[in-house]
């Protein structure tokens, strides 16, 4: 099986098949994430959530998708037409591209990823920050004060939290010595009788806490969902969007949510390693747990005020992340010295 990866033509066949499969899998996963979120939020509010379409409401998203796909493709007058259409495409393209470098598992020598590049994490962050462009351009092109405000908030928020997010992961890279996601997952330690991969959260707990908070902000999820803040901004940058263009933004948001959950599983919880559980299933389980955490946070906390958001980002998370980097570096040097 491993021979096919080295064959020049076989390699491309594998990549194309993998891309097709991954697109399908991520799309389906997104649909069921929305279903999972609605059901979990429902249970938090002691109601069943969608349960009418198909068994346990599992076909709800198919119904919603068909309904939205058949809506009129409407562009309001006085919008910047080209940008208005391009913006959601940027969002969805950036969201899906990130999955090119996310390794899902290694099972019976079959590689469940598309490419394994040595700057994997960096690429994921580069692509996830493209999401800002989608939101800002969409908000500006809508020619609507609520959309513009949503876009501006998003720009400020994402810039503030991206720094903390990146710095929160620096200790991990310092310990592992690589940005390749596979190397981070395969990071092994020898601790007395134990020799094997460990969940890196044991070594970088503070980094994990910063990562989780910053990732919620990065994906514009409650309680950091200021860009779309329904109550104050109608729908923020989404106000003027409907039909398939709305679906694209929506899709991008949920794909990003799965991406940051997957990254959390890979960077802090040992990826596809979990006792005897088969690799891909173990990874899936961890991602689902993280998704539940996000939904749980959304069901619990009210939205932060704008100044609180900025204070948390710049005055708490960023200094904490920097201190974390310095302390980890000191310990690393001391232990090697």
């Amino acid at each position: 099986m491993s021979g096919i990866y080295n064959d020049p033509i076989g390699h491309w066949v594998v990549v194309v098949v993998a891309i097709t499969l991954l697109l399908f899998v991520v799309l389906t996963a997104t649909a069921y994430t929305v279903w999972f979120e609605r059901v979990a939020l429902g249970h938090i509010q002691r109601r069943p959530g969608p349960n009418r379409v198909g068994p346990w409401g599992l076909m709800q998203l198919a119904a919603d998708g068909i309904k939205l796909a058949f809506k009129e493709s409407f562009v309001p007058a006085k919008t910047e037409r080209t940008l208005f259409v391009i913006a959601p495409c940027i969002a969805v393209a950036a969201a899906f591209l990130a999955w090119a470098v996310i390794p899902i598992g290694l099972w019976y020598n079959v590689q469940y990823w598309i490419v394994d590049i040595n700057i994997g994490v960096l690429l994921v962050f580069a692509l996830s920050s493209l999401n800002v462009y989608a939101i800002v351009i969409g908000g500006w092109a809508s020619n609507n004060k609520y959309s513009l405000l949503g876009g501006l908030r998003s720009a400020a928020q994402l810039i503030s939290y991206e720094i903390a997010l990146g710095l929160a992961l620096v200790p991990t890279f310092m310990i592992v010595g690589s940005l390749r996601l596979r190397d981070i997952v395969d990071y092994t330690v020898t601790l007395g009788p134990y020799h094997g991969p460990i969940p890196l959260i044991l070594l970088t707990p503070i980094g994990f806490v910063i990562y989780v908070i910053a990732a919620v902000a990065e994906t514009n999820r409650a309680p950091f969902d200021l860009p779309e803040a329904e109550q104050e901004l109608i729908g923020g940058f989404l106000t003027e969007y409907s039909g398939l263009k709305f679906v694209m933004y929506y899709l991008a948001e949920y794909v990003n949510m799965i991406t940051v959950s997957a990254l959390a599983a890979l960077l802090f919880f040992g990826g596809w390693y979990l006792w005897f559980v088969p690799p891909v299933l173990a990874f899936l389980l961890k991602v689902v747990l993280f998704l539940f955490l996000y939904i749980w946070l959304r069901g619990t906390f009210p939205r932060l005020r704008y100044d609180m958001l900025m204070r948390l980002g710049w005055k708490v998370l960023l200094p904490l992340a920097i201190v974390n980097v310095i302390v980890t570096g000191t310990i690393l040097v001391a232990s090697q010295g």
Binding site: A40, R47, P48, N51, T300
Partner: protein, 193 residues
Amino acid sequence: MADDEKTTDARPEHPTPLRGPDEGVPVHPKGKVPSVGADIAALATGLKTTLGEFFSPQVTLEYPEDKSPRSERYRGRHYLRRYENGLERCIGCELCAAACPVGCILVIAAENTDENRVSPGERYAKTYEINMLRCIFCGYCEDACPVQAIVLGPEYELSDTSREKFIYTKEKLLEPLPPDVQARLQSKAKEAT
């Protein structure tokens, strides 16, 4: 009236003295020092609460399948009753139509004869129609009836596809009573005796 208001204007004293213009808003309750630990504990309490709700039984009643129980005295659609020997109770006295505040009941009475005996009294209702679009389900007809011929049952899902179908005719009103209405009427009769 205005004078009365003036005399009753004396409000009770506020239990705690109100804040003066130069006093700031107290940030934390007295005796509580703001701390990161307390804040995180507060967040954890919130998460614990929602997780508790997550595992609690749901309160949703899934309507078309499950319905909330109706009160015994619930006033839904009308029924016309019969005696046990099959004769109609209604004697065509039109008291229900007179009692109806919206005038949705139409009764046209006719004489009973020995060949055509519909009710035990002198007269019976030849036509008995209720316009359910007008009816406000007040139950005055049931109160007014001297022979307890008309009762209001528990059904409330009365939607239909045309206006004409909302004129409930005598045939429709004479449908057999649901068992719980019968039980209610029996218990009412027992109380009366």
